[in-house]
């Protein structure tokens, strides 16, 4: 077997740590169940559905449980982890993507219902190395702190500009209200959007 030097990434490290913890808790639970003599409950049965999603210009065949959200399909199955999971209940906007050019919440979209639609994620916004004007403006204005809400903010902002809801800062704020930033980077986000409107 050839030796492989694996690059340690933040994601890989976090994944390894989490699975280590999970194994620990499974071991502890099996000890508990041994004491009370009950087997762990079996996982719920689910029938996989074969679908094809059109993501960032690629046709991606997937086999999904009917319950799978578009968000989980993108992150866990396609490996497009730029779209973030915040609340998973439609309240934070971190999972915003475009379906047929409209901004929607991927956490509240069943993956199977996204078939036949053009899906654009943050990974598909730039054209090659050329950043989308909103991405460039967020960089220029430092429109983020921790960065977790940023992909959703940018996807929302790109749609907002197309919708034309940019006639004033107040209008930008109102129409960006579906994207929460708990670091509070709002002033720079609004400045970035205002700038991107002029650039565009």
């Amino acid at each position: 077997m050839p030796s492989v030097t694996r690059r340690v990434t933040r994601r890989g490290l976090l994944g390894a740590t989490v699975s280590g913890l999970a194994m620990g808790s499974v071991a502890a639970r099996s000890d508990d169940t041994a004491q009370v003599g009950l087997p762990p409950p079996p996982p719920a049965a689910a029938t996989a559905t074969d679908i094809v999603l059109q993501i960032n210009g690629n046709h991606v065949p997937l086999s999904v449980d009917p319950r799978t959200s578009l968000l989980d399909a993108l992150r866990e199955q396609v490996g497009l982890t730029g779209t973030k999971k915040g609340c998973d209940r439609g309240s934070c906007g971190a999972c915003t993507v475009h379906l047929d050019g409209r901004r929607v919440l991927s956490c509240l979209t069943l993956a199977a219902r996204a078939q036949g639609k053009v899906i654009t994620t943050i990974e598909g916004l730039a054209i090659g190395d050329a950043l989308h004007p909103v991405q460039a403006a967020f960089l220029h204005h430092d429109g983020y702190q921790c960065g977790y809400c940023t992909p959703g903010q940018i996807m929302s902002a790109a749609a907002l500009i197309k919708e034309g809801h940019t006639r004033s800062d107040a209008e930008i704020r109102e129409w960006m209200s579906g994207n929460i930033c708990r670091c509070g980077a709002y002033p720079n986000i609004v400045a970035a959007i205002r700038d991107a409107v002029q650039e565009g």
């Binding site: 559905t49 009917p66 319950r67 959200s69 509240l108 219902r113 907002l160 809801h165 209200s177």
Partner: protein
């Protein structure tokens, strides 16, 4: 989330036929249902996807506005005919949720969204709406956001839709279809008071679907306004909201239609306020007297007495806006 089968019928008839089975639920925009599924508040065995059923038309003429049940909230709000003839419908939609949710949410789904009562939304608590007979912790618990109108000993949860408040003020009618039935129901008769069956929220029968909403054209509809007061400026449900349509000729109120949101167990029409305005001169004293009647029949719990004051003041403010 419990597992389910997802079916995607291509026609209304096929969707209605599929809905004859027990345990079946329609899914439209999914913005509320997905939350309910994730939190195990709803656990259907089959979801019928309405995406491919052709119910999304928006039509307006001199007589009425007709909104297909699958028309998206954002498309209705942006429609020039809606904004000109029924401005309050655009206003209520744009005051609802967030732009992303409005791109997904539909007219029919908005009218059928479930209450935001925290006890209903948390399966760790009892709730008569979710589990009939289990009790209502809201009545003696956290009830700042609960209803002051239409409650019972079994439920004081508010109805959450802004759009439904506007439609209630404007005498809208809902078109309902079942596999073997077709009905037209005025929206004021559509929502049921909780009484001792708070889990039965509308007159829909199992397998029924809202297919369209019609709203008559009128001077009232053209001069209609929505005032929504909430804990934060945007992306929040109403503490108190008022929909008002006024028809004033030569300084005399010919007709008034008012409904309130955030305060009732269903969208709450304000007939006493309307009666106090009809035929009267449109001056501030008349508006003030009429506003004081907004709370007729109100009953506050421990934490939501402030809604009574807010309701009267919001009514006055909304009337002043419509008079300006």
């Amino acid at each position: 989330m419990q597992t389910f089968h997802l079916s995607q019928p291509a026609s209304l008839d096929a969707a209605l036929a599929a809905a004859r089975e027990h345990g079946v639920k329609f899914i439209a925009g999914g913005t509320d249902l997905m939350q309910l599924l994730k939190d195990n508040i709803e656990s259907p065995t089959e979801l019928i996807d309405l995406e491919h059923v052709d119910l999304s038309s928006i039509q307006a003429d001199a007589q009425e506005l007709r909104l297909g049940a699958m028309a998206r909230m954002s498309d209705v709000a942006a429609h020039p005919d809606v904004r000109a003839g029924w401005p309050i419908i655009a206003q209520t939609l744009e005051a609802s949720a967030s732009p992303q949710v409005r791109n997904m949410g539909t007219i029919g789904g908005n009218l059928l969204q479930r209450t935001r009562c925290g006890y209903f939304r948390d399966t760790g608590f009892a709730c008569n709406k979710r589990e009939p007979g289990s009790g209502c912790p809201a009545i003696s618990g956290e009830n700042r956001l609960m209803a002051i109108l239409g409650g019972s000993d079994h439920c004081i949860a508010t109805h959450a839709s802004d759009l439904a408040v506007a439609l209630t003020a404007l005498d809208a009618t809902l078109e309902l279809r079942g596999a073997d039935s077709e009905r037209r129901v005025p929206i004021v008769d559509f929502y049921r008071l909780p009484g001792n069956t708070p889990h039965i929220e509308t007159v829909l029968r199992p397998g029924d679907l809202i297919t369209a909403v019609t709203v008559p054209a009128s001077n009232l509809a053209r001069n209609s306004h929505y005032l929504k007061l909430r804990d934060r400026a945007s992306f929040e449900f109403a503490l108190v909201s008022i929909a008002v349509g006024l028809d004033v000729q030569d300084g005399i109120v010919q007709g008034a239609r008012l409904a309130a949101g955030g305060v009732g167990t269903r969208p709450w029409r304000l007939p006493d306020v309307e009666a106090a305005l009809r035929g009267k001169p449109q001056d501030d004293a008349v508006l003030r007297d009429a506003s004081s009647l907004a709370t007729v029949g109100a009953h506050a719990a421990r934490q939501n007495g402030f809604k009574q004051t807010l309701l009267q003041r919001a009514t006055l403010r909304a009337l002043q806006m419509a008079s300006a």
